[in-house]
Every structure is written in structure tokens, then in C-alpha cells.
């Protein structure tokens, strides 16, 4: 089994609340926020490593991003990936999910050998969940989104996928593209040996020149959507504190419920 995992570097979840925009200057303030592998992508990588441990094969991690995204790929190598590829080029700037999935598809066509492609269900910065299905379309593959369990036997894949209030069990044949949720596993920490190996291992960097790409389909020119404004949401401040001792508070609250015809 050769598995490709697409990972994205994003601002740290724990600190994401610090992402604010300066209303005057209209810019995002990201100072002091660490970058990490998108959490769902770590689950995708963990799943790929488990499949490899069980069935043999290789795990390739692929990311499109600025040069610093190499850190995310190094961590993936330390966790146990065999090969890491970074797609980095100023020509990719301005990519929306259409252009991103196209660029990733070109790299996968170059890698050529794969049985399975795994992604996170969504990236926590953009929260779109569009790159997975988009990539599957560019590659003419079938897709299974929101997987919490994957089983593979004799070229057949059985997946439990999350719906609003239940889980669907679906089956298909390889190759297929699957996006995973955090319920699927608990990602491992890199081992000491892994860290040492990752230090020596090189991340392959591919630019637009290295890929079979149409210039009109990448970066800003290949993007259909454009962000024209960012702003801080207005939160309606209501904030009325009910005072009194605990019994008075309960009574006052029940009074309000009655007035609002809630009970």
C-alpha cells in the first residue's frame, strides 16, 4: 500500500484565538502564534502510518505552502513518513481551494504511485473542507469524506463516515481519496530515532517548473474566488447579570422564562 497524505501548516489551535484583526489597519495579527500541522492532517498521517505498519508500503507527505511549511513536513518525517514533498513557489500565491487542489493533483500525478490518498476533513484556518473533494475530482477518483474508521482487505475499503446524527458504512475499491475526522485515532509523538532521522532526511521542494501544470490554473489566475475583505465579527453584547442569593436568582430566572413564554 502506497499512501499519500496531504498536510497543511496552520496557526496553532490553542492560540488561534489570538488571531485578531487590527480594525484600523485591517490586518491579521498573528504575532507569537506557533505554526503546527493541521490537527486533522495529523490524524490522516497517523492512519497512513498504521496502514503501512500493517500492510507494508510507503507513506509520502505532500504540502503546498511557504518555505516555512518545511517544519511541518520535517515533523511528519519524524513521525515516520518515508518521503516529504513541499510545493513552494511564488507562482502559487493567491490560490483558492480550486487552484490548491489543482496544484496538489499535479504533484500527485508526478508521484504517480499510490493506492490511497488521505487528507484531514478540513483545515482549521480556512475551515472549508473543499480541498479533498476538489482533489478527488481533478484526479478522477472517488472520495469518502468524514471517515472515523478505515479497514482495508484485498483491495476493498470499508469506511465509517460521519453524518449529522449517525454514521454511514460505505465500501469501495482502491484507489480512493478519504478525508478523516479526529475520532479515527490518536496521533503519535515523534520518537527520538524519528527525530534524528528527520534531521538528516531532506524535504523535496518542487516549484511550478517541476510540475505538469497549466500556468492559467495556478495561483491567483487559477482561482475563482477572491477574498476582498476581512473584519472582526460584531458580537451583540447583551450581558445582564441576575443578582441576589441563589434562591432569588432561581426565582428571577423562572420569572423571565414565564415572561418570554419559554415555559
Amino acid at each position: 500500500m502506497d499512501v499519500i497524505v496531504c498536510i497543511k501548516q496552520v496557526p496553532d489551535t490553542e492560540e488561534i484565538h489570538k488571531v485578531r484583526i487590527d480594525s484600523e489597519k485591517h490586518t491579521l495579527i498573528r504575532k507569537g502564534i506557533k505554526s503546527i500541522i493541521n490537527p486533522f492532517d495529523e490524524n490522516a498521517l497517523e492512519e497512513a502510518l498504521r496502514i503501512k505498519e500493517k500492510m507494508g508500503g510507503t507513506v509520502t507527505v505532500l504540502s503546498m505552502g511557504p518555505p516555512q511549511a518545511e517544519d511541518a513536513l520535517k515533523k511528519a518525517l519524524a513521525m515516520g513518513a518515508d518521503q516529504a514533498i513541499l510545493l513552494s513557489d511564488l507562482a502559487f500565491a493567491g490560490s483558492d481551494t480550486l487552484a490548491t487542489s489543482y496544484t496538489l493533483s499535479a504533484a500527485i500525478k508526478k508521484i504517480k504511485r499510490f493506492d490511497l490518498i488521505l487528507l484531514g476533513k478540513q483545515a482549521i484556518d480556512g475551515d472549508t473542507a473543499q480541498v479533498g473533494p476538489g482533489l478527488a475530482e481533478w484526479l478522477h477518483l472517488s472520495q469518502i469524506t468524514y471517515a472515523r474508521k478505515i479497514e482495508i482487505h484485498d483491495g476493498r475499503v470499508r469506511v465509517e463516515r460521519g453524518l449529522e446524527d449517525s454514521f454511514e458504512v460505505v465500501e469501495t475499491i482502491l484507489p480512493v481519496l478519504i478525508t478523516v475526522t479526529k475520532e479515527i485515532n490518536e496521533p503519535r509523538y515523534p520518537s527520538l530515532r524519528g527525530l534524528l532521522r528527520a534531521k538528516k532526511e531532506e524535504v523535496l521542494v518542487w516549484t511550478s517548473q517541476d510540475l505538469p501544470l497549466k500556468a492559467s490554473k495556478i495561483g491567483l489566475d487559477g482561482s475563482a474566488t477572491q477574498v476582498i475583505d476581512i473584519f472582526t465579527p460584531e458580537v451583540p453584547s447583551r450581558g445582564k447579570i441576575i443578582s441576589g442569593d441563589i434562591y432569588q436568582k432561581v426565582d428571577k430566572l423562572i420569572e423571565k422564562f414565564k415572561k418570554e413564554k419559554l415555559i
Partner: protein, 397 residues
């Protein structure tokens, strides 16, 4: 081709551009700055550079989009019954269609959907496509994509609205990519540009709800948006339009259905559907331990409501994930939302702040939940809830 570059001979390394770049794409490299590939072409750096050292060229496209007309809503249905979110999309769609002076079309895909027509035929819809086949009884990505793409290529709608549900978020990117057009996920605001462009202005949260982004799709049609359930407003019953009904028999082949559904796992959903509930009682980490969810359940039962949760307690395994409210959970809009032991992180707030009445019970007076609460109660929930439950129980008798 669009491009952006630093003119090294003009750059003085003043760093002004670094400080305004919203995506941290500019870095110091020696004495000058350089731009990385995560640049989004927003142009802020060009504006602030005192030395005109940044050159940005955007290739402008001249494309005739006039053939694309009308607003479509894709209905979501389950077991042959059109889901409530479809009516919300129709509410949003009707406004957009009126602003554009165009027709509103509903696209219904499935099996045996006739029973829905009673309530839809004389609603606010101008046209209904009814696409039925036994092979469409359950959703599957490839058939739905094929059907919608074929229809779009024949009819040229300018806008398509799809629910941001498990189904919609699986399908919409597939359709958009096949049609080579733009898609904006999880929109919370939609309107038509006042100018001549007829562009759909799409507003959506990003970075876990900490910021909002306004997005357009200026050179491609259709403009596709997924819309979160419980964000748009349904129209009142009535409408009185006589919708034209167009039946389509799609030609589908079983061989194209690569993904086969072989089972369904239902876990204890806790009775009431969170997104349809009028009253929700939610618990957070302040409950202390899983067992204390019984307090939340008791109160919810008394009020005839559903049980919600913060992500912290879902992550801790105290309650299954479909109870989660918030950015990565569900958006809810009940008449009453009671948050117990929830701090009110922005990611939680975005899922519940549109509720009509919000009650927050938290022992920390500084908890951000109090900013959005209609009624705030600073108390230990272990003391407060039992009293509330007892008195409410008394009221009931």
C-alpha cells in the same frame, strides 16, 4: 500572468509591509524583504510601501457572464422528506433572486419526492426540477455530481445555494471543481453587489470564527455557496407562487456508483434533534465529570429540550460528538439556550450566539459567555442547577 515582486533596488528593509501582511507572507531576507507563496494578493503591502518597492500585477479577465441567470437552491432530503434547512436556503435564495430580478429554482433530487410538492408548489419558488430515480434513494457523490453538472451546463444558473451539511460539503466542491468555478464554504451572509457586477457577496467565518471574510467569485459562473443550517431565515408559510414543475429522468448506470452504502450506525442521539430543538441545555468542562451530565439531562427533560455540549467535553469523551455546538460542531438557534459551565470561547459562541434567549451559568464572572448571555448567573452550577431543577419541577406540578 498575475505576479507580485519586491523591487530589491528600491526596498529599504523598513518592514512596514511585514507588519501589515495579513497572512505573514513577507519576511526579512538580509537587508531586504521577500514574499512567500502564501501571499493572497490583497495589495496591502503595495499601499503601505513608502518606496514603491512592491510591484503587483493582477491579470484582469474580461468575460461575458450575461448568459448566466437565476438562483438555484439544492434541496436536501432524507427518506423522501425535504429537510428544514432547504426552507432556510429558499429564504435566502428568494431575496437574492428578487434583488437580481430573476427566478428562484428548487432542484429536488431523490426518489418518490411527490409528497413534498404540496408544501412547495405554492411557496415562493418559481420553478422546481424534480429529478427522480430509484438509484437516487440515498445520496451518493458521483450521481449527484453528474446530475447537477449536466443541469447547470444546460441551464446556466448564476447562483447555486447548497446546505453546508455532511451531504452538501461532500458534494459542492466536487461540482464546483468539475464546473471549474468558485465555491465559498459555510456562508453566514449573502447579498448581491450593489453595482453592475451582479456578484454574490459572500461572508463567512474563518480562523474558528475569530475573523470574518468577504469573498466574491467575479469571473466564473455559477457562483456556488454552501450555507450553514440555522443561519438564514425561513419565509413564512404561503408565498403563493405557482411553481412550474419540470420532471427529469436521469440516465444513470449502476456501474458508475463506485461507493456503496452497506450499513448505518445509529448511536444514542439523545432523543431530540439539536438543530430543530426550541430549547437547548448545554454543558461544558465546568461540570467537572461525565456523570454530572445527568444534571444537564434532567434540566433538558424538564424543559422539553435537547442536550448540547462544548468541544472540551466532547474531546474528553463525556458525550458523543453530535452534541457539540460551535464552529466544528453544530450551529443552533433555539428560542432558549442555557450554557452551564461553558466559558464561551469564540468557537463555541459562533454556534449559539444567534439563539433568541441565552442564559449562562458560570462561577467565573469574567467568563466571555456573559458577553453574549441575555441573562447571566454567576454561581456554582452544582449548587444552582439542583435548585432550579427542583423549583421548575414544582412549577410543573
Amino acid at each position: 500572468m498575475s505576479r507580485i515582486e519586491i523591487l530589491k533596488e528600491k526596498c529599504t528593509g523598513c518592514r512596514k509591509c511585514i507588519s501589515v501582511c495579513p497572512v505573514s507572507a513577507i519576511h526579512k531576507e538580509g537587508k531586504k524583504v521577500s514574499i512567500a507563496s502564501n501571499c493572497t494578493f490583497c495589495g496591502l503591502c503595495v499601499q503601505v510601501c513608502p518606496d514603491q518597492a512592491i510591484r503587483m500585477e493582477k491579470k484582469e479577465k474580461e468575460i461575458d457572464l450575461s448568459a448566466w441567470r437565476g438562483v438555484w437552491v439544492l434541496a436536501e432530503q432524507k427518506d423522501g422528506q425535504v429537510s428544514p434547512v432547504t426552507y432556510e436556503l429558499l429564504g435566502a435564495g428568494r431575496n437574492l433572486a428578487d434583488d437580481l430580478r430573476e427566478k428562484l429554482t428548487l432542484v429536488l433530487v431523490g426518489e418518490k419526492l411527490d409528497r413534498n410538492l404540496n408544501s412547495l408548489e405554492n411557496y415562493y419558488i418559481d420553478r422546481i426540477y424534480l429529478i427522480e430515480s430509484p438509484l437516487l434513494k440515498q445520496y451518493n457523490t458521483s450521481f449527484y455530481t453528474q446530475i447537477l453538472v449536466d443541469l447547470v451546463r444546460k441551464e446556466y444558473p448564476e447562483i447555486i445555494l447548497i446546505a453546508a451539511t455532511a451531504l452538501g460539503r461532500d458534494l459542492a466542491p466536487r461540482i464546483a471543481t468539475r464546473l471549474q468555478t468558485g465555491l465559498t464554504a459555510d456562508c453566514t451572509g449573502l447579498r448581491i453587489d450593489d453595482g453592475h457586477s451582479r456578484n454574490l457577496i459572500q461572508v463567512r467565518p474563518a480562523f474558528g470564527g475569530n475573523i470574518m471574510a468577504t469573498i466574491i467569485c467575479p469571473h466564473h459562473r455559477p457562483q456556488i455557496a454552501t450555507v450553514r443550517p440555522k443561519v438564514m431565515t425561513k419565509l413564512p408559510p404561503g408565498g403563493g407562487n405557482q411553481a412550474e414543475i419540470i420532471r427529469i429522468n436521469p440516465s444513470l448506470s449502476l456501474a458508475d456508483r463506485l461507493i456503496e452504502i452497506t450499513g448505518l450506525i445509529k448511536e444514542d442521539a439523545g432523543g431530540v434533534d439539536l438543530q430543530e430543538a426550541e430549547i437547548i441545555v448545554s454543558g461544558g468542562r465546568g461540570l467537572g465529570k461525565a456523570e454530572n451530565f445527568s444534571l444537564i439531562r434532567q434540566l433538558a427533560d424538564l424543559l422539553g429540550g435537547a442536550v448540547g455540549a462544548s468541544r472540551a467535553v466532547v474531546d474528553a469523551g463525556w458525550i458523543p460528538s453530535y452534541h457539540q455546538v460551535g464552529q466544528t460542531g453544530k450551529t443552533v438557534q433555539p428560542r432558549l439556550y442555557i450554557a452551564c459551565g461553558i466559558s464561551g470561547a469564540v468557537q463555541h459562541q459562533v454556534g449559539m450566539r444567534a439563539s433568541e434567549v441565552i442564559v449562562a451559568i458560570n462561577k467565573d464572572p469574567e467568563a466571555p459567555i456573559f458577553n453574549v448571555a441575555t441573562y447571566g448567573i454567576v454561581e456554582d452550577l452544582h449548587h444552582f442547577l439542583p435548585v432550579l431543577i427542583e423549583r421548575l419541577g414544582g412549577e410543573r406540578k
